[in-house]
Amino acid sequence: MSAPKFDFDIAVVGSGPAGLAAAALAASKGASVVLLDEQAEPGGQIYRAVTETPVRDRKVLGPDYWHGAELLGPLRDSGAVHWPGTIVWSVARPREDVADGHRPIQIGLSRNGAASMLTVRHVILATGALERPFPIPGWTLPGVLGAGAAQVLLKTSGLVPSGATVMAGSGPLLWLLAWQYLQAGVRIDAILDTTPKENWRAALPLLPGFLRSPYLGKGMKLMLEVRRKLTVIGNVTALRAEGAIGGDSALKSVVYTRNGAEHRLPADTLLLHHGVVPNLNLANATGCAQRWDEQQRCWRPTTDEWGATSVEGVSLAGDGAGIGGARAAAEAGRLAALDALHRLGRIGREQRDQLAVPHRAALDRALTGRAFLDTLYTPAEAFRAPADDTIVCRCEEITAGAVREAVRLGCSGPNQAKSFLRCGMGPCQGRLCGPTVTEVIAAERGVSPADVGYYRLRPPVKPITLAELAALPKTDADIDAVFKH
């Protein structure tokens, strides 16, 4: 095999805080860097549309959002190439049969409607987080959406809900969004807080750590303001979204259970949120090892202190490697960049370690108190592994009951659930059902989610058209191989 031609030293996938910081630092030290991102503008989800948002009143989105703008200057000055509007659908691990130091990593991407392969030496995946699935009866009705999705609409388009609006769930983002709506003059009719009472008992021992968290002051302030101004109903243990009687039209009401009694609220919009989990699809499809995180109740790719994964030349930074928030993500991005520079021979080990000192300290500060939040906001079992009649896989319309029935027939984990039920085989590739299917199977088998495993995901990680795939550059040898078969 001849020596491969490299398009760039480093590709960074995702331009949220981790990707922006990683690309800027790596390029500033002389590496050739390309930053690949689906969106038209940098920022990821947390800083979504930070350059372009129509929400110009800075107090609506709050200072933490505008912090994102500070990451853009260094990127511009660094010389990193930014390819917005680029979908990465495959990252192929390097082949072991190529000489060390020249092992190319091939990235499959779509840009301007055309697919192509990009060859690089190192990849930093900064794919961020996804909302944890929040399956309740009726969650597929029009009018029910994730609070994170609603927040994206606010950031990108200034869109806010109209009509009767209910928010339900738990976690910092729920409170932040309610607060942002308040600043924008939008009233939420009710917040249904599903934080289980018993979580406080588990979280209290972790409170001292949280008291030192940079998020404490800000979080308390906005939570108190929301509680003062809005109706907050606590200890909600069950939820269901309903359309018109006898029809599966749009959402009409939300039914919740509190202290054993059912109550009904009229609603045109229901915003659900149970925190976020790593968006690990690309890492998983690349073959990176992953582990079950009991504290965050999610799968996360296995990484070392630099974000290096089990696959040579592939590292991870930010929430895609485990939820830590935006500040932590940026620092993790810088650490991953330093390690990549070292692996590419651009800086020595000592220089890497020395440059990492302030970033590691900042990362530790940013993660202070995380355990308290993770523990307090762990969703109740009834929401993680819902009742039999609840749809868990939206693409294939598979209920929790069908998954349990498959377990009784011998289905031992999410991968077998794919084969038994087609669960997780739709276009979303498990993004909307993976955590739930893991929890349902584990509970039904009476084992830890760690023992049931997770979907083996397959490229293309994002759908591409047959036409794009057919037009990928091919060599004569490729075509000969087919005609000879």
Binding site: S90, Q429, L469, T475, A481, V482
Partner: protein, 375 residues
């Protein structure tokens, strides 16, 4: 850990793919006590992730008698395993894109007819269009086998397993066979998790790992580990019933009842069998996509949502190894199906059971003897 207190098996089957499960089922139907040892879980590899083609069409002439006999079992598959396995028979078609290719098809039919087989026929332009209205204009005809079809691979393999268990077979999953030895007429099989099992007879149905089992008894086989790739689209409106292949190119194309379209045919990625994983070669996937672009213009805007590859064994002459070991008594091979073993699953299990319980079979298996590779 020792073997469980259950009665000692008469036969140990190594490999929980379709061939291992089928052998276990046919043996269990005859009252033979079977233990299946599977290193991962049943249908984990080729048996669970293949294209599901149930095809007599275009087979190597040595395989045709077995394939025809297996087809009869497929058409009564519910009677055999109490599950329809998702089997649907809408025929398989091999499209000819030129007059030269059509001439090849005519020659094929003549060859089969001379051997006494009539399941393949040539159809012209118009008949092709009535069978496959979406086919591209340039196609001139096709080779057709109307009794062929497709099934759901994992469901099929699992149905064989379930029925075998119902008849008394036992399955031990999660332990790789590390050692196979024979003493005083008894095989001892050891697995990586420290377990030992004994039985008078062993079946090697270990798929892409079968060469390692054969090597244990001094019987090296030139098995190549391959990773045929497949891809699937998002749902499109139903437009095609038969499974379509091509005469001059590599293709297997079929639409599931749910609207998704499966595209494959055997273009290869890379298998890393010691890690149970495969890597896709997107330049080859692209060649496959290009073939569909050419043959099915309506598919050009379809969305590809997933591509994958399974780990399979391929022999140098592209036909399997079936029958007794050449070096040891009471060891039977069933592997190396070279990426087209799914349809043969029901019959080869029966053949293996015939050999074990009766010493012979009524089907011609001489071409598949393991000794053919000896220098």
């Amino acid at each position: 850990m020792t073997a469980t207190a259950s009665p000692k098996p008469d036969v140990i089957v190594i490999g929980g793919g379709l061939h291992g499960c089928s052998a276990a089922l046919h043996l269990s139907m005859r009252g033979v006590r079977v233990l299946v040892l599977e290193k991962d879980h049943v249908a984990r590899h080729a048996s669970g992730v293949n294209a599901g083609g149930v095809r007599q069409l275009g087979r190597h002439v040595a395989e045709v008698p077995l394939s025809v006999a297996s087809m009869a079992l497929w058409h009564g598959i519910r009677d055999l395993v109490d599950d329809d396995c998702g089997f649907e028979s809408h025929g398989q078609i091999k499209v000819a894109e030129s007059e030269a290719e059509l001439a090849t098809s005519h020659a094929r039919v003549a060859e089969l007819n001379a051997l006494g087989f009539t399941h393949e026929e040539v159809v012209g332009r118009d008949e092709l269009r009535s069978l496959v209205p979406a086919i591209a204009d340039h196609c001139v005809g096709a080779l057709v086998s109307r009794g062929d079809g497709a099934a759901i691979p994992f469901r099929t393999t699992f149905a064989f397993r379930r029925k075998a268990i119902a008849l008394g077979a036992r399955f031990q999953e999660g332990g790789t066979v590390t050692r196979l030895s024979r003493k005083n007429g008894l095989w001892t099989v050891e697995t990586a998790d420290g377990a030992r099992f004994e039985a008078p007879v062993v079946v090697n149905a270990a798929g892409a790992w079968a060469d390692r089992i054969a090597a244990q008894v001094g019987e090296p086989v030139p098995l190549e580990v391959i990773a045929p790739m497949l891809m699937i689209t998002a749902r499109v409106a139903p437009f095609i019933k038969p499974v379509v292949g091509a005469t001059g190119r590599t293709l297997s194309f079929k639409q599931f009842p749910n609207g998704t379209v499966l595209i494959g045919g055997g273009l290869l990625g890379r298998a890393v069998r010691d890690e149970n994983r495969t890597e896709l070669d997107f330049s080859q996937v692209s060649v496959n996509a290009r073939t569909v672009w050419d043959l099915f213009p309506c598919m050009r805007g379809a969305t590809i949502v997933r591509a994958w590859a399974g780990i399979e064994a391929r022999m140098p002459d592209q036909i399997p190894v079936i029958g007794p070991s050449g070096t040891e008594p009471d060891l039977y091979h069933s592997f190396g199906f070279s990426a087209h073993g799914f349809q043969l699953g029901p019959i080869v299990g029966r053949i293996t059971a015939d050999l074990i319980t009766g010493g012979s079979t009524d089907l011609p298996i001489a071409p598949f003897r393991v000794g053919r590779f000896a220098a």
